[in-house]
């Protein structure tokens, strides 16, 4: 029998729920509602009233090649950075779980990057990946013109992907390591007795048993790569060169606060929200089926 706390009167239950409801309303539903409202109107840049325009904002955005370019860039960024951050973290966690020499070192060190604010780490990577000094300058000396994120859009995209992945490797690593350590040692030993080698055990036993964690991280990483990328883009490339790294979240900021197109930015943020919701639904519908919950 499940134990349940029941309240004599429904009003007491509501009272307990009120603080949480207020928070959610104030910081999510109200701003989201405002954004929906703005996206359907034309806001004047210097304030003073607005005009109802229906879906015109959406029509004009979706007809704009720059916006489609931004969606493509965001998708590429999300796909590659999530893939990199997850695969690297998975390999590191699997090695750490095997208690190889030096594993205690990564366990401590790999947690730090997630604690660093995006702009701070972006600034660091801006120096690290600078074409005119440091390591990349040496590479450029050997192959002149090999690396120039200031001019080459692909190089700029690579820079922000590296910076973002670096931050999320640490985050993913913690979850993967916890998932690996939750697998009873005797399962691995039983597989070893059954004749399974290290790699085979990884694919047949460990990998299926950490699929709930992989799924969770996939959802979080994709969502965050759409949202948490702002600070990195702003410091490292400011969307350039030639809009090559103008991700959706950065375009909302630059159109809204630099271009003073509040209504267009609001419509873009609604599209971004719907896109993330849709991606999450797809993941739950099609990927979760392959997850083994214990």
């Amino acid at each position: 029998m499940e134990k349940r706390v029941t309240f004599g009167r429904w009003t007491i239950g509501i009272l307990f729920a009120v603080p949480q409801l207020l928070l959610i309303f104030t910081f999510f539903y109200w701003p989201a509602g405002q954004a929906v409202y703005w996206s359907l109107t034309l806001q004047q840049p210097w304030g003073g009233g607005n005009i109802w325009v229906g879906l015109d904002n959406f029509r004009s955005i979706l007809a704009n090649a720059d916006y489609w370019n931004s969606i493509t860039a965001s998708m590429i960024f999300a796909g590659i950075s999530t893939g990199l951050a997850m695969v690297i973290a998975l390999v590191l966690a699997a090695l750490t779980d095997r208690q190889l020499a030096g594993s205690w070192l990564y366990r401590v060190v790999l947690i730090w990057p997630y604690g660093i604010a995006a702009p701070a780490l972006a600034l660091a990577f801006r120096f690290i990946l600078a074409p005119e000094a440091g390591f990349m300058a040496v590479v450029n000396r050997v192959w002149p013109g090999f690396w120039d994120p200031g001019l080459d859009g692909a190089d700029a995209m690579a820079s922000i992907i590296i910076a973002f992945s670096w931050k999320y490797v640490g985050y993913n690593f913690i979850f993967f390591l916890a998932a690996f350590q939750a697998i009873p040692r005797s399962l691995i030993e039983a597989a070893a007795m059954d004749g399974s080698g290290v790699l085979r055990r990884f694919w047949d036993i460990q990998f299926p048993l950490i699929t709930p964690t992989i799924f969770f991280l996939l959802v979080i990483n994709i969502t965050e790569s759409f949202q948490d990328s702002f600070g990195i883009v702003d410091i490292m490339t400011a969307g350039g060169p030639a809009n090559a790294t103008n991700l959706m979240v950065y375009k909302i900021y630059s159109d809204g606060f630099k271009g003073l197109d509040y209504s267009g930015a609001a419509a873009q943020s609604i599209i971004l929200m719907l896109l993330i919701v849709a991606l999450t639904i797809v993941q739950f519908r099609f990927i979760e089926r392959r997850v083994h919950y214990r």
Partner: protein
């Protein structure tokens, strides 16, 4: 089928040594039980045979081949784990067939062999289930099936029955015994449960503190325990131990309060010894009977077929198992009598058995 030869095997974890040089020989097809309290190194020894622990020193050979450096899969052993260690994401059939899949056995043959094993273990109707949906006894059988299907040279059991309830444990015990008779593979079974050990073993290895105390058939270990530890660990209730000093005509017990007449101890006068007597070998007589030790009754445990009477012998605890229907009142005085030949002597200093009746003819009761 394979013989196992263990020579001078030691195990260290960092600076602590947990197994201090073990030498054992297991014959082909033998069912050996390693018995000992927790922390005695019995599981570690088993895991070294399996290849799950590195051997710090000495050698282990299976069928004459030293396996120290071989991977578990190259040793031809199968193991049943205490918590079963079934793969939770695989069905029963997949669990049992996993080793064949790894070995690259074609699916058709694999399915056929899984069926055959499932039939022996009465698991045929459960093959599609996940381990989560099985009872403890069923999981245990799947774990056995997973070990059996490989037709291993050696079966290793790491306390496989300790997670089962009492009734199921007795049932699985006889199933394991039957299975062994049928497969006749060399089996090493680790347990801390002496009833399990006595009933299953062809040969018993008693371990304590990382050392082997005694090797022998269950009957030998029971009737001639090699050390004080074995004497008190095997048998329930435990063997009674009385500390004493050898005198000219026998033993002076309990700081000189009691005397026990023993003929020809063969021990030097003044030697400190512990005299052991099994509760089953003690008879209850009238307190004044000649040669009887008087004791005060503390507690009676009714077992149905018999009873255990706990008495107090001048502050020393002592127990008797009797099948007579007597019910002495707690607090009353009774007499204890036993045959001299039923006494076991152990050195007070080393705990080693002192064989004092080797040349003597069994004596009549005192």
């Amino acid at each position: 089928m394979a013989s196992i030869t263990i020579r001078g095997v030691k195990k260290n974890y960092a600076k602590t040594q947990v197994v201090h040089g073990v030498d054992l020989d297991f014959a082909s097809g033998e069912f050996v039980v390693i018995l000992g309290p927790s922390g005695c190194g019995k599981s570690t020894l088993l895991r070294m045979i399996a290849g799950l622990e590195e051997i710090s020193d000495g050698t282990i050979a299976i069928d004459g081949t030293v396996v120290n450096k071989l991977e578990p899969r190259e040793r031809g052993c199968a193991m049943v784990f205490q918590n079963y260690a079934l793969y939770p994401h695989m069905s029963v059939a997949q669990n049992i067939g996993y080793s064949l899949k790894v070995a690259g056995v074609p699916p058709a043959e694999r399915a056929q062999r899984v069926q055959a094993v499932a039939r022996v273990l009465e698991l045929e109707h459960l093959l599609d289930r996940k381990p989560m949906a099985l009872s403890g006894g069923q999981r245990q059988r799947v774990a056995m099936g997973r070990a059996m299907i490989r037709e291993p040279k050696v079966f290793l059991f790491d306390e496989p029955l300790s997670n089962l309830d009492a009734k199921l444990r007795v049932q699985m015990r006889s199933e394991i015994r039957k299975l062994h008779r049928r497969l006749n593979a060399t089996s090493v079974f680790v347990t801390h449960d002496q009833v399990e050990a006595m009933t299953l073993a062809d040969r018993l290895v008693v371990m304590n503190g990382g050392r082997v105390e005694q090797v022998g058939t269950p009957a030998e270990v029971y009737s001639r325990p090699a050390s004080r530890f074995v004497a008190t660990f095997v048998g329930a209730p435990a063997m009674n131990m009385l500390e004493g000093t050898v005198t000219l005509d026998g033993l002076s017990l309990l700081g000189g309060n009691r005397k026990l007449n023993v003929s020809r101890t063969g021990l030097p006068v003044g030697a400190k010894v512990a005299a052991g007597i099994r509760p089953e070998a003690v008879r209850m007589v009238a307190p004044g009977a000649p040669g009887a030790l008087a004791a005060t009754v503390d507690l009676i445990e009714e077992l149905g077929a018999g009873r255990v009477i706990y008495v107090d012998l001048d502050g020393a605890p002592f127990s008797i198992v009797t099948s007579e229907t007597v019910h002495p009142e707690p607090g009353s005085t009774i007499g204890l009598q036993f045959a001299e030949t039923d006494l076991h002597f152990f050195s007070s200093k080393t705990g080693a058995r002192l064989d004092v009746f080797k040349a003597s003819v069994p004596e009549p009761a005192l």
